[in-house]
Symmetry: D4
Subunit: 219 residues, 8 copies
């Protein structure tokens, strides 16, 4: 009874309330998801571990679990998405960054946006990136996910005109300080046309990308 | 002779090379500006103090100085801008944040984008913000400039559908740690559809906004 | 035998010695609780996990366990509370902040103060807060509990005359740095009439609120 | 013209808008002060250096300058203050902390609250503090200003029932990190009934103390 | 075979090599302990968990385990200690600091120094400390162990002539940052005659105290 | 009139109140010095810049200025010092550390202790240190002053039996972070019998050394 | 299918792609290793825990597991190594640093370089280091692995002409901050001819040493 | 008289003692330089501002001042350099990084090593770097100097076999934290064969490069 769901959020901001599953019990997730289904809204839950997800699905079998993204969605009620300017593109630097990239991908799909992904093309082997220059130049918005030194975002930023959203990840050890190194790299990028979200925040990057990619941003 | 100007940058990224004036001498600024004028490009220089600017203007009188933004521009050669989706909107929280907001405004104008500003509407007096709800709901992209606790970006994020770019400023003292407090606030915002640039980086926010506001992002 | 209980603390400061349960064994908690019961004082223990609490209750069944607050109390001996100026109000931003808010609520009740709560009204959906303006304007002291960017305290601070105590929580991830982001937000608030306690310190906020809400502060 | 003064702030929060002088020019201070005088409000400006203040006074001779507090006030229009519960008390640890303590004192007086001060009673010579126990026990709210290790607040907290507001100062060197050491000390105090404001924020502490000391907090 | 024991350390520095058990396996501890016994030296091992200790004792039953200090010692071979100036005194602020205080006590005893302890006398109840003024004034060196805000060292420093060694502990949460708060407090103490060792380093404090308390420091 | 001098400090702690000159005006220093002279105490002032010192000397010509230590002393009234165990030794790593070493030397002399110095013997040229092994082995207490990586204290700690006081200095740049690097090195030293004072705190190190070197610590 | 192996890396940089095993599943490691074996490359995997390694070996029995280094290698296909200038030398300060030193040793051997090790010769017992001066003076490149205060690298740097690579380790507690203390020490070393890699990065140090030790660096 | 020059350093480490001019007076620099000239050694002084340099040259006209490097050298006495493996190459990212790059260049030349430079080729315009691939592939050791996000070192690391020394610079603002951002980027680089020196430490990078580039490292 303590949760106070913000049912008008989609009307106000274009993005429905999304359940942050990390600190919630199975019971709490079920309660909120039910309320959202009851009011005709989609269910989108992030940071739901496999075990929790399975228990939610026992009660709400209409929910779909996205393993690599640790997300739970139920989009049946979601009739129409806005129209979009083009395709969002998600790039990631190493295989360890994939879970964060997948959180972004599943969120974008849940919000209705077309999305494409290219993974494991970090700058230690630059040719891997340059191979994909054409796809990169055609995206309407690009999400770059990278841990360790996080320099991929700057390199992409020097190659294309689309707005770029950097997602630093906590991949690394020692002086990566749980993602701080990659975060600072992206904040200090000398490539303009790049903005940054919180460490590991694939969800937030997807919301920003969705907002940019909508055909009619004012409405 | 050590500077290696990147003349193709505008073709590759949509944004011409911009002179970062903070650590450059008057001579260096003049040399680079001349090279840019010679190759038909616009001159856009940020972080140029008043005294330096005056000396540059003695030699290059076609340059215009923007006092509050500490910027120097020479846009005569700039024939055509891309077409835009709508108007970019710049909000700032307090009067001390205005210089950063102005850096964003002058940059957007130099890049050709329509832009509007509303200043000094921080959340300690929320009614000031709510008065402007209509203008806010019509912007195609919003830049929010705020120092101290930097919470304005989150509040705006809960009210509109446009993508938001947060610019934390170094305004404050003590535990504001030169803008770190505002930066963290914006990175941790619970309002999705918000991404962040470096502390005091009005220029970078404008580039991101320009990139979002272009009619044809892939082009 | 190494514990040296401060039995006169209530006389000196108005607040009895409270057991910090986090680093104590079941045996230590029982020993101190017994000594407090023996000298006629109330038992108030914070940060007691469920399992530990159950073992304490086996020996001291007069103790009551508060699940969501992780607190153990035995207030039977507590005859009279001071009289109070009004009602303390506890607000919290998200459902994940509730345990900290509950630590504050149970502490205030144990100290005898009237208290009311409104939970899950973070600033991403400002209307939820504005709905409660009247209750807010009637409180004699307000505790605001918020994690992530922690901006709720500033927004409330701009709306009311009562003194506000901010409690940053460790809810969040990445650049929230275990509550540092919310802490800095509250310390740098541009809304005056706000002071802050340690991250997750619902107990300390309640003590400050109790001290403010007492009818006769010098007594 | 960019400043947007919040004339209703005193009605909403009990505290009028106060000018933060640090980053403002003489012209900006004069403009805002005039607008406040014109609308019948008091002028309270903090962080105004001596030279700036003199220039403001040339134009607005009704303003009074408080040297040690670096504050400028014009209270002529301020008819009636609320009634108060008692006397606020300001303690400071060393002579170097006095400017911050004075900022608190002048602010409290400007807001109409009775106030008393005891300075230079740091814990290296505890007897100096114990000498004043009676005054301490009679205050309705106490502000403790301390730099370096900032332990005075905890010691006072163990001796009295009044709510305490800690103000860490940037006095110190080396590992005091501009006030961070004193700030952490106060946030981690084991003496309950203590809350903290930003480093060097005598003004904020005074606003909190004023809010606590008002006879009718809801009004 | 990779360990290279420093058998002459006691001759050079007065303190034998001590085994740092935290990252060592049972086998490694046994090997080093055996080598020390073989060369007639004492065995002193710190940070040895209960389970590890039991397994060591199965093989080396002459070792004694100190539960609260998590230390293992075998002092049989230790014939003569130097003579001492007086008694070392260990004070600690809260019951949670006792394990660190005990590490100091057991180390001092193993090194042969007379030692006395007074625990749980933190500054929130100052009278507890003042009760022991006489004992404090008679110590030849004092170790003060304190977590959270760590202010006890400064208060003791203002009361006595003996050199004081501060040991900050990691007791606390939130902004105590694993002992950093107490460490900074002690480093910034305004009470001279105080020096500090690493967080939780009861062992190091004891070595310093031993070195001070020796009758003939040059010998 | 706000200063509250602690005239009994020498009786309580063995060390008289010392004037911290950094944030004090010439007038404040003169006032306090006069009060100390009047009550028969010595004057010891630290962190007094040359210009300030000259102005103080115009009024109080009995004060002596120590250029390299930036200290002002007037010891005429100081009749008798306690007797000492031996000689204190001050080592410093580089020539840039000398001002801090001199603050320690002048303080020790003012307090009456015998003292010897050896400067510029950092570990990049270890033979310079080893040349002085005999002097080192005869000191009753050693102060080691070092900036940058601050490793000299550990090396000395492995060579002698006397207690060592480490003074990290702010000498260095980049990742020395104003002395933090040297401070951490000393706190984490694997050489036991070493304790640390604040960055650049030659004064504090001297007080600790004085306290250790007194013949009768309890009195 | 998401991994994009960089098969040309050895040709471009002299070092083949190495599997970073920390965040990879057994399946992922097997897939990549197989692809590397299939293309004739060596398999070198770091940070593979014992249990994971065993499962990989069930499928790929040609892989060898290096217990202390937590590495898995399969070098059968590796025909010829480049020729080398001399022997690389690995020194480590304490027994707890050995796993990091071993990661460096196994990597160097896998890359074909001759390598020698001397362990547990930290500066608390300097004679242990000085004993090995001749071996030190003959190495063509030296890796120094040290935690806690990490001063060994500076001391070695003052004794030899070979280039030195410092590897700070996370060994320590309290103010060692997970290796930051040792990292800062090495970065601020006053001994020139020393460069540093990330905390615990034995692998990276070995790559740098290999690159230095190759007979023909340009090839 | 307090300076203790290490005349044998060149014999021990291959690199003569170099004067760190930042905190030294003109007199100190002259004294040390004279002693070095007298003993037949070269004079190499870093961080000498123009004004100081001029005054030194008045007395020692044989010294040469390197404006952009802020260095002073007198190499007349330097007869023979060792022979070298090839050419050292210095790359820098932006024009603001040139002073640090020049400190490295002048140091390498003073030590006798062949050296080449390519400046202003940061990754925002990657083609500028790729143009120089052949020169890069021929260097025997590479120094990469970069501020802001510092990603140039990683990109170069993915392209060549030579050992790379990264020098982060303090160029940048806001979240660059005086070079920390670039430092962390380089420490976390996913390109192996890269080691790092302190922020702005062109001198240290040159010493490491010299040490690598010597024909006979053991000698
Ligand atoms: N992975 C995520 N990262 C950041 N914010 C999230 C995430 N998932 C959901 N949210 C936001 O968190 C809010 C829900 O918080 P709560 O009330 O605690 O469930 C929603 O409004 C979402 O916008
Ligand atoms: N608890 C402790 N804290 C700090 N240093 C310790 C501790 N216990 C032992 N030591 C030191 O650590 C060194 C042993 O390191 P190791 O070679 O890893 O066993 C000894 O020389 C001791 O002086
Ligand atoms: N250089 C110094 N560093 C640290 N503390 C000092 C220093 N000089 C004086 N003090 C202390 O500062 C106190 C004086 O503070 P104040 O009341 O501000 O003058 C004295 O009690 C001294 O113990
Ligand atoms: N222990 C290690 N530390 C740092 N980098 C490593 C380590 N082991 C492997 N790597 C690098 O990590 C890269 C592989 O990353 P990934 O694509 O996530 O497997 C390889 O190119 C290696 O150069
Ligand atoms: Mg990969
Ligand atoms: Mg304003
Ligand atoms: Mg919610
Ligand atoms: Mg004082
Ligand atoms: Mg207790
Ligand atoms: Mg020197
Ligand atoms: Mg060892
Ligand atoms: Mg450039």
């Amino acid at each position: 009874k303590d949760a106070c769901i913000d049912h008008q959020r989609e009307i106000r901001t274009g993005i429905p309330e999304v359940i942050y599953g990390a600190a919630k019990s199975v019971e709490q997730i079920i309660t909120i998801a039910r309320a959202q289904i009851a009011t005709g809204g989609p269910v989108i839950a992030t940071r739901v571990e496999r075990e929790k997800a399975k228990q939610v699905q026992l009660v709400l079998p209409e929910c779909h679990y996205h393993e690599r993204a640790s997300m739970l969605t139920c989009l049946e009620r979601r009739a129409t998405a806005p129209s979009f300017r083009g395709e969002a593109l998600i790039l990631c630097a190493g295989t360890s960054d994939i879970p964060v990239a997948e959180e972004a991908r599943v969120t974008l799909e849940a919000l209705g946006s077309p999305v494409k992904t290219i993974y494991d093309i970090g700058i230690a082997g630059l040719h891997r990136l340059l191979l994909h220059r054409e796809v990169i130049s055609q995206a309407s918005v690009i999400i770059v996910v990278a841990g360790m030194e996080g320099a991929l975002a700057s390199v992409v930023g020097g190659l294309c005109t689309a707005p770029i959203i950097g997602v630093p990840t906590s991949v690394g050890y020692g002086a990566s300080f749980g993602g701080v190194s990659a975060l600072l790299t992206m904040l200090n990028s000398c490539a303009p046309g790049l903005a940054v979200v919180n460490i590991d925040n694939g969800f937030g990057a997807a919301c920003m990308a969705f907002s940019i990619n909508r055909q009619n941003p004012t409405g």
